[in-house]
């Protein structure tokens, strides 16, 4: 491997490690915001751990498991790439065709009222 390549890669890895650290330095979250573009609405994770939302193409089913990981269980989108992504935690899940964004939110709310 050439010297320049190695220096370049090490620099990138260092940046990556720092970015990763800053991400996880913030408190881990079990709260999620679900944006539904078709309705222009934002939902929070429901107590029932199962949310059905109507996007551009139809109903998407979003579920959470015991470990607070989220996944899109069913989606009307053609390529199903959001369903294939499987369980996620701390990563936004996005279904572009159906206009659904599931965003983990860190420390934004201490509690929820009106649940």
């Amino acid at each position: 491997m050439q010297k320049n390549n190695l220096i370049f890669i090490i620099t990138l890895l260092a940046i990556s490690a720092l970015a990763y650290y800053f991400h996880f330095a913030s408190e881990k979250t079990t709260q999620y915001e679900i944006r539904v573009l078709a309705q222009n609405k934002t939902y929070l994770r429901p107590l029932s751990n199962r949310l059905i939302v109507k996007g551009y193409l139809g109903e998407s089913i979003i579920t959470w498991n015991m470990n607070d990981e989220v996944r899109i269980e069913k989606s009307p989108c053609p390529n199903q790439s959001c369903v294939k992504m499987g369980l996620c935690k701390s990563i936004p899940l996005i279904c572009v065709p159906n206009g659904i964004i599931i965003n983990p939110i860190a420390q934004k709310y201490d509690a929820v009222t009106g649940q």
Partner: protein, 163 residues
């Protein structure tokens, strides 16, 4: 002249084909992919000219999305912006630094490709995406994929050295 056009057309065609083949493959995140089509932009950039690399990037996203039926959809905008910005950055680096290697070019191209697609999502959906985490993930994905792409380009250049 005609020979150059023919080469360019062939590159655009194969790049579009690669992009179509790659699109149904499973991926970790919507904006993270191997980016094999990028190899042909880079090849055009080195073998022909900077503008050729950009032309390959623009045309291949158009053709691929026409064939995939996603023209002017959010998916198309993401891949168009990604491919264009990566071709622009690779061209710029190639012109600015004489010592730059193909690996560095292709890894930076892959990075800026992923990053600008993420930026498109941020702008289009006005979402507060956790950039720190994505930068970390992107680097991990871009290094191997950029490296593979660079190896492919090196091999292509070696085999077509006398063309």
């Amino acid at each position: 002249m005609i020979k150059q056009y023919t080469t360019l057309a062939m590159l655009v065609a194969s790049a579009a084909a690669l992009q179509i083949v790659e699109s149904p493959l499973p991926r970790f995140l919507p904006w993270l992919k191997l980016g094999l089509a990028n190899a042909l932009s880079l090849y055009a950039l080195i073998k022909l000219s900077t503008s050729s690399g950009i032309i390959v990037a623009i045309f291949r996203t158009f053709i691929a999305s026409i064939l995939l039926g996603t023209l002017f959809s959010p998916v198309f905008i993401m891949s168009f912006v990604g491919a264009l910005s990566s071709a622009l950055l690779m061209g710029l680096l190639y012109k600015a630094f004489s010592k730059v290697t193909n690996e560095i070019l292709s890894i930076s191209g892959a990075l800026i490709n992923n990053f600008s697609q993420l930026a498109v999502i941020q702008i289009m959906f006005a979402e507060n995406i956790n950039f720190m985490f994505h930068i970390a993930i992107m680097i991990w994905v871009s290094i191997p994929s950029g490296y593979i792409v660079a190896k492919i380009v090196n091999e292509l250049l070696r085999r077509t050295a006398d063309v």
